[in-house]
């Protein structure tokens, strides 16, 4: 329960940063996507189930904070991103930075394309190459940079949480 609360609080902090601090450090008006980093990191470190639940909650809250998409679409996408990151839970070591970077990049790209399709392509803005070049790819690269920093922090947090869980289980027995 405490773990869940801490995870939820972490998500809220990330959401706040996403809405206030990250736009302030945006380069060429491109803001990295911290919420995807959060989803991928914890999916990778805690498995499919946690990944999909965290992704869903994460997406839902982002939808509510930034109502620029259909509400629920982000929840849907983030949930799958978290779920597929969870697939790599057993295959890769937590400490390896390559996997989260790769997964965030893929997740962010898919998210960007989906956003473009739902909000721009359907309104007749057909210049896909421009949007990929100007928004989707830069966002991906900036998000990767941020992943390298944030993943370490999330990793530390998760190690603390797992230690705490073990201790509480031990005391219970």
């Amino acid at each position: 329960m405490r773990t869940k609360l801490i995870l939820f609080a972490t998500m809220l902090i990330c959401l706040l940063l996403q809405c206030s601090l990250l736009p302030a450090i945006s380069i060429a008006s491109i803001t990295p996507n911290l919420m995807i980093i959060f989803t991928v990191s914890f999916g990778l470190m805690r498995g499919k189930r946690s990944g999909l639940i965290l992704g869903f909650i994460c997406g839902l809250f982002t939808d509510l904070m930034l109502p620029d998409l259909f509400i629920g679409l982000r929840a849907f996408v983030y949930m799958y991103i978290g779920y597929f990151s969870g697939y790599c839970y057993h295959i890769f070591y937590d400490e390896d930075i390559k996997m989260p970077v790769l997964l965030t990049a893929a997740g962010d790209f898919v998210y960007g394309c989906l956003f473009y399709i739902t909000k721009f392509l359907l309104r007749g803005r057909i210049d896909l190459i421009y949007y990929i070049r100007r928004i989707i790819l830069p966002e991906m690269i900036y998000t990767i940079l941020l992943t390298i920093i944030c993943y370490r922090i999330f990793l530390l947090l998760n190690q603390k949480l797992e230690k705490m869980d073990k201790r509480s289980v031990g005391s219970f027995v």
């Binding site: 959401l15 706040l16 940063l17 996403q18 809405c19 206030s20 601090l21 990250l22 736009p23 302030a24 945006s26 008006s29 491109i30 803001t31 498995g47 499919k48 189930r49 999909l52 639940i53 869903f56 997406g59 839902l60 809250f61 509510l64 904070m65 930034l66 109502p67 620029d68 998409l69 259909f70 509400i71 629920g72 679409l73 929840a75 849907f76 949930m79 799958y80 779920y83 969870g86 956003f115 473009y116 909000k119 721009f120 803005r125 210049d127 421009y130 949007y131 100007r134 928004i135 966002e139």
Partner: protein
């Protein structure tokens, strides 16, 4: 022992798949609902905004303080040069201003004679601070301001920054309001060329934001009177934008292939990259048009 963990894992596996399925359907339903009902301001959203807006403005202040400190040194060098330039400008403007004041007095008295109302001076405005630039998703140009319905704001109120039109309020909570900038891809403003009184539409476009331009489309100008440098203001026709607010100046204009309308680009007077304080006009167009 190994068998047990195997079973646990398998059980976990199935459960997460079921969960994925259930949540997929759930989010599908929400998407369809939000698409059909278009609840841009739902209670949850409202609650989230209510709780998060003060936090946001707190973080924003810290961020502003930090970037302020960084800018301080950089700015210092430019300031001296700028100060001199501005001083001369102040002198020029003071002279011009006194002249204009006299002209306005004269205009007012003439208007009184003609029994015209003092259209634009009577707009009531309140100042607000931008607390969050919502290009958090990179695709839209929206921002949040730190005043809401408690301060008398409502949806569809016009937002000015400096001399020109910045956007329109699309959502309002007790202590925050969201503003859609006119450069946003979804924004369309009914406007007119103030020199020729021809109407047109100012349509935001994401791919033009980098150039600092906005689309000007459907200019009904059969005689090709509009020219580069003409002033574009909001028109009387719009049901949301108050008339006569400055938007920008024409930078490029050409005739469409249908030979009926013209289109081009304008450059807005508002600098959307560094927007910090805004003025909200508390008069609503729907109410002022009697």
């Amino acid at each position: 022992m190994t068998y047990k963990t195997g079973v646990a894992m398998k059980k976990n596996h199935i459960r997460s798949k079921t969960l994925l399925f259930i949540l997929s359907i759930f989010s599908g339903i929400i998407i369809i609902l939000s698409f059909v009902l278009d609840f841009s301001v739902n209670p949850l959203n409202y609650a989230a905004g209510y709780v998060l807006a003060p936090l946001q403005s707190g973080i924003n202040q810290v961020g502003g303080w930090l970037s302020g400190k960084m800018d301080y040194f950089e700015d210092n060098l430019n300031l001296v040069a700028e100060n001199e330039k501005l001083q001369t400008q102040v002198d020029e403007l003071t002279v011009e201003n006194t002249q204009l004041l006299q002209d306005r007095e004269e205009l007012n008295s003439l208007r009184d004679l003609y029994a015209l109302d003092h259209k634009y001076e009577s707009y009531e405005k309140i100042g607000a601070r931008v607390i969050s630039r919502e290009n958090a998703g990179n695709w839209f140009s929206m921002f949040t301001i730190d005043k809401g319905s408690d301060d008398g704001l409502a949806v569809d109120m016009n937002v000015l920054a400096g001399a020109g039109l910045a956007g329109i309020i699309t959502e309002v909570g007790p202590n925050y309001a969201r503003v859609r900038a006119i450069i946003d891809d979804y924004s369309n403003v009914s406007a007119e060329i103030s020199e020729t009184h021809d109407t047109c539409i100012i349509a935001g476009d994401l791919s033009l934001i980098d150039d600092g331009r906005i689309n000007l489309v459907k200019l009904d100008d059969p005689d090709s009177k509009a020219k580069i440098g003409d002033t574009v203001v909001t028109s009387n026709i719009s049901d949301k934008f108050l008339p006569g607010i400055l938007i920008g100046y024409i930078t490029e204009i050409h005739t469409d292939s249908n030979n009926l309308t013209r289109s081009g680009y304008i450059s807005p007077v508002v600098d959307f990259k560094s927007i910090k304080e805004v003025l909200v006009v508390t008069n609503l167009k729907q109410n002022t048009a009697e």
